[in-house]
Amino acid sequence: MSKVRAPKSPGRPGQASSWLATPTLVFLILVILLPLLITVVYSFLSQPSLGTGVKWVFSTDAYRQIFVQEKLDGTTAFDTRYLKVLWNSFYYAGIATITTLLLGIPVAMWIATRPVRFRAMLVLAVTLPFWTSVLIRTYAVRQILDETGPIGGFLKIIGVGNSYQILYTPWATIIGLTYTFIPFMILPVYASAERFDFRYAEAGYDLGAKRWTVLRRIVIPGIRPGIIAGIALVFIPGLGSFLQPDMLGGGKTNMIANVIANNFGQARNWPFGSALSVFLLIFTVLFVLMVTTGVRSRGDQVRLI
């Protein structure tokens, strides 16, 4: 019998063998998973006496270095320097998340309540910066904030600009984060708001609620999945920001990514950079898990990717 044997289950859209995904998964294991594992391995190795890379000798110095400072007077002390950097990262990313939330919800709701033909255009307007280079957008913020830029010039003209200084302060970093991340907030909130049935709001009015109450009690809970996704999409990458503090903070407002980059560059301490990298990775994974499990327990449908 030279019959063609039937496969296990017949056709579905785009039917294909699961082997088709294999090259992709192998590739990603090689170029994503192994580098992450290498980072963990590196964080437990020693720094060579001169220069870059690692010495293949097991050591927990890198982790010790995060918390313990060898002082110049020969004593050791609990080191708050890197915890401060970590705190900065949380703090700046947190403020940026709150700001994007406060600005993003009204924008998303406003777009969602426009006539359909305008909506697509407005969404496109929000998406456009989303796809343009973060480098260029950060640079654009730098020019706006510069003392010799338009804001400084205006303040000088009206006579109050002499002590104007935002660029090279932490606020510049926060503004930069807010500016570059706001599309990440607007788009998911909009996706929820667009699906939200505004007749519920009408019902709220009908039952005698005022605008603010309707907003707080009916609309915001209704678009909660989008808000959660937005918070995650701003806060998680915000934690690992490198360009905004580098270009806007004047080399002073270090976030954890800057310290990692410095240890893989100028400072040439790969084990320590790797340990900080592992730290950042753990925080990221924790937040992703927190969002996904927290969301699942409430029964919301939130997609981060």
Partner: protein, 356 residues
């Protein structure tokens, strides 16, 4: 039945449900379809008729049982290797191909010479009266035209069996009538065995040489339209095929005691139905099989509604705790008014017992 063209033996098919349970779509179904037959599979949605069709097409595989075509098994051959083709409910035209490309697709899969493909495509399009539209995209066609392309695409393959999965359900009534006639014509001309799935009993009656009535994964009855209509094996078939009053009666010594007290003599029953010795049973009577009588040996009840529908007048009569519908000619009878007492009796040999 070994000489059957398409022979389905003990086919069972189950589907897992999302909750982890199992739905039995086909439960040990046996069926034999003869060559050149226009065979209709009829049943409500979820009855298994489409599952059986998909098993024949190879789009699903039975859990157990065999499907034979001309005596050899086809149930373990993948769909693309079976000499069977399908006209899908949604037409399933390839949106990125023109009409001609759609029709040629199956022939190209057989690696036929280009010339032959061309002539067979032209012939198929002519068969379904679509000549001249071969360069259009499916989106540029009307629903009826799309239907014809789907038909031409399947027919061009010259299958041994053509499966049609509720092909007319998306068309409006007038178009559907036209297509029904046309499908019958095509089937006669080509001589191909058609297996036609529908949930529309009227369509089934119009088209089928034979009809299989499905319910809950089983075939309840197979037969010609007349057999099915006139001799339903049970209440389900009687109710599903056409409109039927299922009247609960008590078997008494003189006959069947209707609600309301009237008695129907056994002799007035259709000849070939079983009559229980005693107890209750269901009597199936089509609305048009009632007549108004003066005798008390009838359903006696109060008219609760009178509806004029053109050629017929429908009387709703409450008898005891049952409501019975009768369809009477709108001329030649004195139509009672709402509130009147009336007497209805099945015409001779029209009522059947259909179990209890």
């Amino acid at each position: 039945m070994t000489d059957a063209h398409l022979d389905i033996r003990q086919v069972t098919k189950t589907f897992p449900t999302p909750e982890g349970g199992v739905v039995v779509a086909l439960d040990s179904v046996d069926l034999a379809i003869a060559e050149g037959e226009f065979f209709v599979m009829l049943g409500p949605s979820g009855c298994g008729k489409t599952s059986l069709l998909r098993c024949i097409a190879g789009l699903e595989y039975p859990d157990s049982g065999e499907i034979l075509l001309d005596g050899s098994r086809i149930d373990d051959i993948p769909a693309y290797a079976r000499p069977v083709n399908t006209v899908f409910q949604s037409y399933a035209l390839f949106p990125h191909m023109s009409v001609a490309q759609n029709v040629a697709f199956g022939l190209e899969m057989e690696r036929l010479p280009k010339n032959e493909i061309k002539s067979r495509v032209a012939a198929a399009l002519e068969q379904v009266k679509l000549t001249g539209l071969d360069r259009r995209k499916p989106t540029q066609l009307s629903g009826g035209q799309q239907q014809r392309v789907a038909l031409a695409r399947a027919l061009a393959k010259q299958p041994k069996v053509l499966l049609l999965d509720e092909p007319l359900s998306a068309l409006d009534l007038k178009l559907r009538r036209g297509m029904q006639v046309e499908l019958k014509r095509l089937q006669r001309e080509t001589g191909i065995t058609f297996v036609f799935v529908t949930h529309d009993q009227e369509e089934a009656m119009t088209m089928g040489d034979r009809i299989a009535v499905f319910n809950e994964g089983k075939i309840v009855q197979v037969g010609s339209p007349q057999e099915i209509y006139r001799r339903p094996v049970n209440g389900f078939v009687a109710d599903f095929i056409g409109e039927t009053n299922l009247i609960k009666v008590t078997v008494g010594s003189g006959g069947f005691i209707f609600p309301g007290g009237g008695v129907l003599a056994r002799e007035l029953l259709a000849e070939d139905c079983e009559v229980p010795a005693a107890g209750e049973c269901l009597l199936a009577v089509r609305p048009e099989d009632f007549e108004l009588v003066d005798t008390d040996a009838a359903v006696v009840g109060e008219v609760v509604d009178v509806i004029f529908t053109g050629g017929l007048i429908r009387l709703h009569v409450r008898a005891g705790d049952q409501e019975i519908v009768a369809a009477l000619p709108s001329h030649g009878v004195v139509v009672p008014a709402v509130g009147d007492q009336t007497r209805l009796r099945p015409i001779t040999k029209a009522a059947r017992t259909v179990g209890s």
